[in-house]
């Protein structure tokens, strides 16, 4: 988000913005290249080049469907996570025109909230469920809302939150949705391969995923669509993707997505990144008047760290970190277009000061312990420097 360059630094850039996007894995790129230069056929063509493409696509679909515990034909490739989210909600709304109520949460990604804002201008009503101070959705409120309304189109919930890393209890939510027979959509763009998703066991009807958060290519995503829900396509045209989404398939993207998912679906990587995350949390907790936002342990995305530092503003902190070649992201008002701090942090009960003082650092398998140590030191230094010129930081 900030583009400040530094002149002389010990390390090359330390990238801690893996919740925004990730570095492409070399092995993924290797797998993709032949589908640009050799097997570049159209998967619908009836010749050898076409068959090669189709075969690669089928294998990739198989890989992804296995990770989600879904059936092969229930995975539809899209051009992004945002498209998958739009397809889930709008697609369903086109097939069920009488259901005008949508239940979601106060901590969704913009590709959900901006959609709902638009749908509201077209006669829809949305219920935004509260979350507690760690970001967990209020399930009693969910039940009440389902009980009260008879025209709920779907329940749409972000699985792993992109700002604070909270992982929702899908099994519990799935049970509630089943009880009321309402489709259950999850936005799993941050959590796919990082946290277990079993669409059958968890009674999930729709799941949005994408590749660029897990060292795959940008511009490729997928939507899991259970056979129990009928979606109207958003993109009409050819017969691709079981007639659910027209367009010549992005074979290199699909192949890269599957490879990235296969690599990242590993307990070794999970352990490795979790350790980096927890070391970073431990180090930042030692800074005076700092506070971790979101939960700890297994209920937090293994790559997410989010802190508030009393008395200083998040964008300035991020700006000075960038001077030291450390890339981070903030939920402060200054970084938003609306001059309002992060609605996610506000929903979790943070006051304006703490929300504006927040900084997100998201790690990946490419980070090292050395980088984490350096980041902790740099953060502490900058926090102290900013507090010295802060008119609101009260020294104890």
């Amino acid at each position: 988000m900030i583009f400040l360059r530094s002149d002389s630094m010990r390390f090359s850039t330390i990238y801690l913005d893996n919740a925004a996007t990730t570095r492409l894995d070399d092995k993924v790129l290797e797998e993709m290249i032949p589908y640009y230069t050799k097997h570049y056929g159209n998967a619908s063509s009836l010749h050898s080049y076409g068959y090669d493409a189709k075969e690669a696509m089928d294998e990739s679909r198989e890989t992804i469907s296995k990770i989600l515990h879904s059936d092969f034909e229930d995975i539809i490739f899209t051009a992004s996570g945002s498209e998958a989210n739009n397809m889930a909600i709008k697609g369903l709304s086109f097939s069920e025109p009488n259901k005008k109520h949508i239940i979601t949460t106060k901590i969704e990604h913009k590709s959900i909230t901006n959609q709902l804002d638009w749908l509201e201008t077209r006669g829809y009503r949305s219920t935004y469920l509260d979350v507690d101070k760690e970001g967990f959705v209020n399930l009693e409120q969910l039940e009440k809302s389902l009980e009260k309304t008879k025209d709920t189109l779907l329940v749409s919930i972000i699985h792993g939150n992109n700002e604070v890393g909270t992982l929702q209890d899908l099994e519990k939510i799935g049970k509630i949705c089943k009880k009321y027979n309402v489709p259950f959509h999850i936005d799993a763009c941050q959590s796919f391969t990082k946290s277990t998703i079993d669409v059958k066991k968890m009674n999930i009807s729709l799941a949005s995923i994408n590749a660029h958060k897990i060292h795959g290519p940008k511009g490729i995503g997928a939507l899991y669509i259970s056979k129990e829900v009928k979606l109207t396509p958003l993109i009409h045209g050819g017969q691709q993707e079981f007639k659910k989404r027209a367009a010549t398939e992005n074979i290199p993207g699909i192949v890269g997505f599957a490879k990235a998912a296969e690599i990242n679906n590993s307990s070794k990587i999970s352990k490795q990144v979790t350790k980096l995350r927890d070391d970073l949390i431990k180090g930042l907790e030692k800074i005076v008047d700092s506070k971790l936002n979101g939960p700890k342990g297994e209920k937090r995305l293994y790559n997410n760290v989010n802190f508030s530092f009393k008395g200083i503003e998040g964008e300035a902190l991020g700006g000075y970190l960038d001077q030291k070649s450390i890339c981070t992201s903030t939920g402060s008002a200054c970084s938003s277009k609306s001059l309002e701090p992060s609605p996610v942090l506000r929903a979790m009960g943070l006051d304006y000061e703490d929300a504006n003082s927040s900084l997100r650092m998201s790690v990946s398998k490419y980070n090292t312990e050395e980088e984490i140590d350096y980041t902790i030191k740099a953060t502490e230094e900058i926090v102290q420097k900013l507090r010295k010129i802060s008119p609101i930081y009260k020294r104890k």
Binding site: I2, G311, E313, E315, G319, A333, L339, I392
Partner: protein
């Protein structure tokens, strides 16, 4: 995104910190919009001998505060009173429009400090003579303006009726910190057209609501 000058100022602000025993200091802004700026002055023979800032705020707020101090240092109080947020913007080689309020606030802090300094100076001169009541009243009501006038793109914030209804309309359209009571001085130079452009607000709709 940011100009070279903004980054230079942000990276190495020259005037950050606190003056020991300042002659006056003033603070503006609120945490809600993410910026609080405090300016302190040392005045000698009506000249600003030293000026420093403390800022809780983003990259732009720190750069704008520092530039403001640069502009104010060495000037007479009278000269410094003429500094406008556009001067700060210009010297910074621009800010992203959504960050204009940072320069507005920096200037605001300085003007507030100067005003309070002059008031203090005057009060210490005529300590025993309390202000007569009619004058106080005048000060209080001085801001109410003819509410019948139609708002146009050239209308400044100062010319709008200072009532809750207007504040609500401004808030509804997303006119940011500028509509908050802290920003007094610049209200006279901030036109609705300028604000709409800076913050991507639909001017037509805003005017329609204001003129209802």
């Amino acid at each position: 995104m940011y100009s070279k000058e903004v980054l230079k100022r942000f990276k190495n602000p020259k005037h950050a910190g606190e003056i020991k025993n300042p002659d006056i200091s003033a603070e503006v802004g609120n945490i809600r919009c993410g910026d609080v700026i405090k300016v302190s002055l040392k005045v000698e023979k009506d000249k600003i001998k030293d000026v420093k800032f403390m800022t809780y705020g983003c990259v732009s707020a720190i750069a704008a505060s520092d530039m403001l101090c640069e502009l104010a240092k060495g000037k007479t109080l009278k000269e410094a009173q003429k500094i406008k947020f556009k001067d700060v913007l210009e010297k910074l080689e621009g800010l992203p429009p959504i960050k204009y309020h940072c320069s507005v606030m920096a200037v605001e802090a300085l003007q507030k400090a100067i005003k309070e300094y002059l008031k203090k100076a005057k009060e210490s001169k005529i300590k025993d003579k309390p202000k007569d009541k009619s004058q106080q009243n005048k000060e209080k009501t001085g801001k109410t303006l003819a509410p019948t006038k139609k708002a146009t793109e050239k209308t400044t914030l100062a010319k709008l009726p200072q009532d809750v209804k207007t504040q609500k309309i401004l808030a509804k359209h997303g006119v940011p910190c500028i509509s908050c009571p802290h920003v007094g001085y610049e209200q006279e130079s901030l036109t609705l057209g300028f604000i709409a452009k800076a913050y991507g607000i639909d001017l037509k709709k805003l005017l329609k609501d204001l003129n209802k």
